[in-house]
Symmetry: C2
């Protein structure tokens, strides 16, 4: 404590030597993951561990037990997040946090969130069993209700909207009621806010939720950032008319215009370099009868990319196409934007540590964006973050068909462990 630099110089070689060989217990990790999957199944045995359900409560009790076995000082914060603390050699250093979530969407899968949560606990247990004491204090965080809107991490980042507490999920509980059920206290939510700069770093391991790693035969994805998302409601107005008596050339068919628009969205998203995606997921045509030419169509347009500027450019191009379609089809387009989320970039130097860890472990890797949202994007408001992806079979997620192999899961946990130790060793105070 008195001469931290001397202590560090003295310990560093031993520490790095230890890191070299330190590995998680892959068998135990996959066994706890299998055990976790038993909690919160529906009547047909399908995974249905929605936040605040009885299954969620049972699984959380199991998780708390595992964290205690791993030697973590475990508590529930006012937002219901489960926090497991492990002291560092230097209590003056800011903690390094890592974790994920164990709740799922209705009829979800047993890997999204679960892999990162069980791996975080396994990493802590591995450190405990090997007697490895990090410089920085550590926090394993199992976040509340990720799938319902990043509830737990939003609370930590101070961006949880009071109105969100009234939102009811498929369990019938509102988020506010749910937080109380988890042992939180919605009257003390302000107390959980972590000021910007209060953590040294945050790491999250997650399944890819896409098919890129599997398709390319890669072991590890080094996440560049979590894409920003903009969502527009698009209204296309034409003229409803009789499908029998209105000649083809006299129509102002809003659905035909919508069809041209949907193709234009696809073409423009493909025409630009990069990984931007644009999706029309919802469509309603009015009046919606087989014998009436649609006079109005409402549809959703969603664009995601790591760069706000790319989203802007793509939307401009799409709007230009909409203008031409409107002119040639006698329809009008109107765009309103009910939702947008900023991109959250990971720290390049944390990416570098993850790459180095993967390389040292002999694992192939590639830099990639996360198209899905994660607790890490809220944590990026507080501290530098890093994310590690492992392959996800067929890119399937939010489905009972989700699957990642035990080897890939162990690889991910070992990259998490190694990156964490490297960060702990190299991070300036």
């Amino acid at each position: 404590m008195k001469h931290p630099v001397l202590v560090l110089l003295f310990l560093l070689p031993a520490l790095l030597a230890g890191q070299e060989s330190l590995k998680v217990n892959a068998e135990r990790l996959n066994q706890t993951l299998g055990q976790l999957a038993e909690f919160g199944r529906d009547a047909q045995g399908r995974p249905n561990r929605v936040a605040f359900s009885d299954g969620d409560l049972e699984a959380r009790a199991y998780v708390v037990g595992l964290m205690e076995e791993a030697g973590l000082q475990t508590s529930i914060d006012a937002a219901g997040n489960i926090i497991g603390r492990r002291p560092g050699r230097n209590p003056d250093l800011k903690p390094i946090a890592f974790g994920s979530h164990i709740d799922m969407v209705p009829l979800g899968g047993n890997y999204d969130g679960c892999v990162g949560s069980m791996s975080a606990i396994e990493v802590a247990r591995t450190l405990e069993e090997s007697g490895t004491r990090t410089r920085h204090p550590l926090e394993v965080i199992i976040f509340t209700d990720e799938e319902g809107g990043l509830t737990g991490s939003s609370a930590l980042a101070g961006v949880l909207r009071p109105s969100a507490l009234g939102v009811v999920n498929s369990t019938g509980y509102s988020i506010g009621e749910g937080i109380q059920r988890l042992g939180g206290d919605t009257t003390r939510l302000k107390e959980v806010i972590r000021p910007e700069g209060s953590l040294a770093a945050f790491l999250e391991l997650h399944i890819e939720q896409g098919g890129l790693l599997e398709r390319k035969g890669l072991d590890i994805g080094v996440v560049e950032g979590i894409v920003g998302l903009r969502w527009w409601d698009v209204t296309i107005s034409g003229m409803a008319n009789h499908a029998g008596t209105t000649p083809m050339r006299m129509r102002q068919d809003a659905l035909l215009a919508a069809s041209r628009f949907i193709q234009a969205v696809n073409e423009e998203a493909l025409a630009m370099e990069g990984g931007q995606v644009a999706t029309v997921g919802r469509i309603d045509a009015y009046p919606g009868a087989p014998n009436v030419i649609p006079g109005k169509v409402l549809l959703s347009l969603e664009i995601r990319d790591l760069s706000d500027a790319v989203i802007d450019t793509l939307f401009d191009r799409i709007q230009g196409r909409a203008d031409s379609i409107a002119e040639s089809s006698g329809t009008q387009f109107a765009f309103t934007r009910p939702y947008s989320g900023k991109p959250a970039l990971t720290a390049p130097w944390i990416q570098e540590e993850i790459r180095r860890a993967a390389t040292d472990l002999g694992l192939s890797h590639q830099q990639m964006p996360s198209g899905a949202g994660h607790d890490a994007q809220d944590m990026a408001l507080i501290c530098p973050v890093g994310m590690i992806f492992i392959p996800s079979r067929g890119g399937i997620s939010h489905s009972p068909e989700e699957y990642s192999s035990p080897e890939d899961i162990a690889n991910g946990a070992n990259v998490l462990l190694k990156s964490l130790l490297q960060l702990d060793a190299t991070l300036a105070e």
Copy 2:
């Protein structure tokens, strides 16, 4: 009676001379049409005279009064049709029937059906006032519930399905209950069936429900036939997936495939010569969330033409396009056909009489199909039919915006009168 041919030869010159000058009372016709429009308005004063509503009952009482003023022997048949009979000089001849309907779709218009109904009664009244006695007996028919599925004319043609009686319309009454309300008797429906060949001819005057006559500045449409209609339910199956994590080139987007299909339907309908129309009026995408790539789309495809062969050809071409789209987009298309209706052609020699009547009256005219269904299509199962169209402003129908000018209405009624007298004079027994 004893020497009909001698009587005919004796009367013919006088009859033709009388026809030459005989015209309906245009002012009275438009006044009764305005009066009819007062029945069955909704709380905001909009036309809402749905079959079986109180407004329908009130309007029918008004119509019966008008028919009696016109000297017609008026009765309600077991299907609720109002029948007004006028004896002919030769009771052995089959009757010539003419008429239309006075019910409307919810928030419909005051011209669809009404113009033909009021004109038919005005024609009878003109004959009565002028002392013109036709050779053939005449029947003015105001059909029950045209908009709910040609109920009255289906009953006359013997094609009313028993299951139709259970269908409830916007009044809350089923068709069966409605027929009772109109003074019909659903236990005696078989009695109203008119055997094939039991009528000499049927004529119907109607608004065009399309914009062709208005656009071309024509007075009269000589209807070639009522188009056949086929309706398919189309299911497009792709793969639902995460809109953020699934790269553009890895998608099997059922809505994108549906969009290409909707465009292909339009292109193929336009590519063929002729007046065929093809419409996608209904679409549902599943799961229907802005952040999920649609995995399934259900849509309707409707094709109409005067020729079944043209419908076949167009559908074949559309199916060919669907096959290509399926192959290039990794989706599957399935077609099921819940409904089809055969084309109903009008009699060429009745068309010729209508053309001659219009020409003699100094009115411009054109042959055209009816894209909409009419009672005349059921009547075509019983006897030769003819239909006369008048211009409809903007081609709008089934809307409070429906409008035809008093001059066009009078023209239509005069063509109906003149065609009727010509048919009466020239029809073989």
